[in-house]
């Protein structure tokens, strides 16, 4: 087997050294009662080319493949990924290393993460960003827990109903066995979070708002932030589409205390939802309550600038049950990819690309309106928006599917009140002709 270098002679020789007669004998400390009986029930081994052929079969089992135009975002976005990123990221010094526990031989990873942290703080307008959390959902959960730690005695957190439904599910699961309570905040007819009930809840440690929210609506973070701080709660913002901040005012500029979201848009394929990238940032004063790894700048014995993992007294391997989180392995490779993407795009490119996404969505809205469809929320949106059609849309959806277009996400499953309405997303990858094709199929 090509991954197992040992020849029979070598095994013999090594067994002799350790004083065993057979490989089985190496496991003499395992009681019979614990042993695996028989052979594990797995398929026969495949050679490299059988495996490749098998992967091809699985690929063909995907009715919707990469040649389809999938007009769905909802936390997983289709953006162009430059080949340079795949090329550079495939370098084994990055790919096959692990956590940079030995900084002298991991400066590539460490400077790379330090740069990622910096670019993320600039993107979000925050003071510190960590070296990643699993995904946007667990980042939100960690953010809420952090909010509760910071706020000390308070036992409640409030989360906007316009936060990604899956993110709220995860947060609920994290909080379930704890003594903490999670309240949901309603969404107004304008598709924005309604805080009117906030004061009444009382004892709220933190409030989480997503912007652009699940409906694609850009929340008025500035105002919301004021109201939230007014009740002495921490202002947490979440996001699923970081590209928006190339155009839209970022959370930091709106007074956010903790920002947590999903970075997949930045160079990661949709890949059925993972590997994902939980981006996590906060204001300086909270850094010691922050979950996750941090890379910091320092010097070596010669005074040369270098980078190391730092403030690890927050972490499980030092603090154990008192740690700010249990996270150990994070999304390392994904952070480097996101950094490469941000570096490739640059500030100028980020703005241009964000504007393009916005303009595409506005064009698409106009085309759909022209066919009598209703854009459910008239607040500003970024590259996603909710549509209500005059007639049952399903048949149109099916016709478009036959044309290799997946026309949005039906919302009933997530918001019964929005049953029959569709959440659409268009990015730079959606050509005018695709949007026209969709509008073309809509019955006026």
């Amino acid at each position: 087997m090509r991954y197992l270098p040992h020849t029979d002679d070598e095994i013999e020789a090594m067994l002799a050294v350790v004083g065993r007669k057979s490989l089985e004998e190496l496991f003499c400390s395992v009681p019979d009662a614990c042993r695996y009986e028989g052979v594990m029930g797995l398929p026969e081994p495949m050679d490299e080319w059988q495996l490749t052929a098998h992967a091809q079969e699985l690929a063909e089992a995907m009715q919707v493949d990469h040649t389809y135009n999938v007009l769905i975002g909802a936390g997983s976005y289709h953006h162009n990924i430059p080949e340079t990123i795949r090329t550079v990221m495939s370098r084994s010094e990055f790919l096959t290393a692990y956590t940079p526990y030995q900084p002298e031989m991991a400066q590539g990873t460490l400077q790379g993460i330090y740069e990622y942290q910096t670019l993320v703080t600039r993107l979000l307008g925050m003071d510190v960003a960590n070296a990643s959390i699993y995904d946007g959902a667990s980042a939100l959960a960690e953010g809420l827990l952090m909010g509760l730690r910071v706020a000390k005695k308070k036992a409640k957190v409030a989360v906007s109903a316009a936060v990604h439904p899956h993110y709220r599910e995860v947060a609920r699961a994290y909080l379930e066995p704890t003594c903490y309570e999670m309240v949901e905040l309603p969404v107004g007819p304008d598709g924005r979070t309604d805080l009117s009930g906030l004061a009444a809840i009382g004892d709220v440690a933190a409030v989480a708002i997503q912007s652009p929210n699940f409906f694609g609506v850009i929340e008025d973070l500035l105002t919301l932030g004021k109201d939230i701080h007014a009740v002495r709660a921490l202002f947490i913002t979440s996001f699923t589409e970081p590209l928006a901040y190339g155009l839209v005012k970022n959370p930091g500029a709106c007074g956010a205390d903790i920002v947590c979201g999903e970075g997949q848009s930045f160079g990661l394929p949709r890949s059925f939802g993972g590997a994902a990238l939980g981006m996590f940032a906060c204001r300086d004063e909270f850094v010691r309550n922050m979950p996750g790894r941090l890379v910091g700048q320092t010097q070596d014995l010669d005074g040369k600038r270098g980078f190391v993992l730092t403030l690890s007294t927050r972490e499980q391997h030092i603090r154990r049950e008192k740690a700010t989180s249990n996270i150990c392995s994070n999304q390392g490779i994904c952070t480097l990819i996101a950094a490469m993407y941000m570096a490739s795009l640059g500030g100028s490119g980020l703005g241009e690309l964000a504007r393009l996404n916005y303009s595409k969505a506005e064009y698409f809205k106009a085309q759909l309106r022209a066919k009598g469809a209703k854009i459910v929320f008239d607040s500003p949106t970024f590259n996603e928006f909710v549509v209500e059609f005059k007639e049952e849309f399903r048949p149109t959806y099916e016709r478009l599917l036959a044309k290799k277009i997946v026309a949005g996400l039906e919302l009933g499953k997530y918001y019964p009140e929005h049953k029959g309405r569709y959440l659409f997303c268009v990015t730079e990858t959606a050509g005018k002709e695709i949007m026209d094709a969709v509008a073309g199929e809509v019955k006026p």
């Binding site: 090594m14 495996l51 089992a61 790919l95 059925f272 890379v295 320092t298 499980q316 570096a343 241009e352």
Partner: protein
């Protein structure tokens, strides 16, 4: 210079500034497509100032990261015997499979019928992991080992709640990885530390003494972090079960025992696996990982939702039972990692997975045997996939475990895990994995012996190490005292 043949040598690398120390406004490192729609007006009050990223050309970006990569060391560079991390070779074909466009482009919220290929992969992987552990219920949502532990603790909580028994304690051996107590604490459990016995494993009495009806159960890593098999695991499990508790198995060290032990038969109720370790998926810089959780039939109802199920020839996502702990990931976990592990399992099959475990143990046992005269063993018992030494001898020469580790860097090796587990003074934890061949292991052993000689003959070589790496020792205290976390 010693006559020992050392892989590490001096070479030339390139300095490279931070991203924002280079570049020029107006450069572009990737294309932004030309617009085919009219430019739309954006409300001024919501508009940002623009983001201060450096503008770089494609060449700038490629060189920047190429140079950074050359300051790094990976498994493809050389031996990486980082204990408890199973840094085995990552097969390249799995990268190709993971990048199959049809699979990699899939949106996670498409209807089941549109993504049968990916659902099949999830379903079959669940089945394979069940076969490997002996535990029939599997979720692949957790994104890493610790995430799996948390999921496990959520299941513990849900189980006891259903039995409405209030339990707030959990037993955790002092050799446990830090994530164990941290994960338990997240669910409000108070860890009760258990001393491991004189021979490095748990003894039955110490568990019997503390296990009670306020205790939710125990978290056991087996083989444990000393590389020893917890021989009393079944008896311990019986005690825990007798008091209504559950047994959590930390499967991070599964690489030692595939096809050798059956977790179910050991009495384990819930167990996470670290696919990124045992099933060789690359996780450069610390991830991504995948920490699927396997449970007994009885506990399957509590697993996170959704999971892939098969009906006839089609696959669908099952949103599970009301008792489910809910979701732990926005979508289906780190799918691209799952796909690599799937490819690895399909390539290895039962026969080679078992062989891999046997050879992983053989390599560790061989190193233990060859080095036990050079470095003091923490515990002289049959080891599994890793062996742990202490710094007892080094200290005589005022050499620390850290010095030894740094000297290994100069010699061209990634050092072992050091100062963990905490129960061993100045622990040196060596896990070679099965993908290291005998010559390379022999060479490593010779180098360690040479370094221990150097500790006596030329201790400065160790204290000043590393000298060959890009940087000399870095000041971690300075970093923590005056945190500079972004530029």
């Amino acid at each position: 210079m010693s006559t020992t043949n050392i892989p590490g040598a001096n070479g030339i690398i390139q300095n490279e500034p931070l991203l924002w120390e280079k570049g020029k406004k107006g450069r572009r490192g990737m294309c932004v497509p030309a617009s085919d729609v009219p430019e739309a007006r954006f409300p001024a009050e919501l508009q940002g100032q623009g983001i201060d990223f450096p503008d770089l050309s494609e060449v700038d970006v490629v060189r920047h990261y190429t140079r950074l990569s050359q300051w790094n060391y990976g498994v493809d560079t050389g031996m990486y015997p980082l204990g408890s991390c199973t840094m085995k070779y990552n097969p390249k074909i799995n990268e190709k499979v993971a990048s199959t466009p049809q699979l990699a482009a899939a949106h996670p919220m498409l209807a089941d019928g549109l993504v049968q290929g990916n659902l099949q992969i999830m379903y079959e992987l669940q089945e394979y992991l069940a076969a490997i552990t002996g535990l029939p219920g599997v979720t692949v949502q957790p994104a890493a080992g610790a995430h799996g532990e948390l999921t496990g603790m959520l299941i513990f909580a849900a189980y006891h709640k259903a039995k409405n028994s209030k339990r707030n304690k959990i037993l955790i051996p002092d050799t446990a990885h830090g994530t164990n107590p941290a994960s338990a604490a997240l669910c409000g459990y108070k860890p009760v530390p258990i001393k491991s016995g004189p021979n490095g494993i748990l003894d039955i009495q110490s568990i019997a003494a503390v296990m009670d009806e306020e205790t939710a159960g125990i978290m056991v890593t087996n083989p444990n972090t000393l590389g020893l098999f917890e021989t009393n695991i079944r008896e311990i499990a019986e005690i825990v079960h007798a008091k209504g508790g559950l047994v959590y198995g930390d499967g991070a060290n599964l690489n030692a025992v595939m096809g050798i032990i059956n977790a179910r038969k050991c009495g384990v109720d819930v167990m996470h696996l670290n696919l990124h370790k045992t099933f060789s998926t690359p996780h450069g810089g610390g991830g991504p990982g995948a920490g699927p959780v396997c449970v007994t039939e009885e506990l399957t109802r509590y697993l996170p939702a959704p999971r892939a199920v098969k009906e006839g020839d089609t696959y669908r996502l099952d949103y599970g039972r009301p008792e489910s702990v809910g979701r732990v990931h926005a979508f289906h976990g780190n799918f691209s990692v799952l796909l690599r592990a799937y490819s690895y399992i399909r390539t290895m099959g039962a026969k080679n997975l078992k062989k891999a475990s046997q050879l992983a143990v053989l390599n560790a046992a061989y190193i233990k045997e060859k080095l036990k005269g050079t470095l003091p063993l923490a515990y002289n018992r049959p080891c599994m996939h890793e062996c742990v030494f202490s710094d007892a001898l080094l200290q005589e020469d005022k050499i620390s475990t850290l010095d030894l580790a740094k000297r290994l860097i100069d010699c061209g090796y990634h050092p072992p895990t050091i100062y963990f587990p905490l129960v061993v003074h100045g622990a040196i934890m060596i896990e070679p994995t099965e993908t290291e061949c005998k010559e390379d292991i022999d060479q490593f052993i010779e180098v360690v012996k040479m370094i221990v000689r150097e500790a006596k003959e030329n201790p400065e070589l160790l204290r000043q190490a590393p000298m060959r790496a890009k940087m000399r020792r870095l000041d971690e205290t300075l970093a923590a005292r005056h945190p500079c976390l972004c530029g």
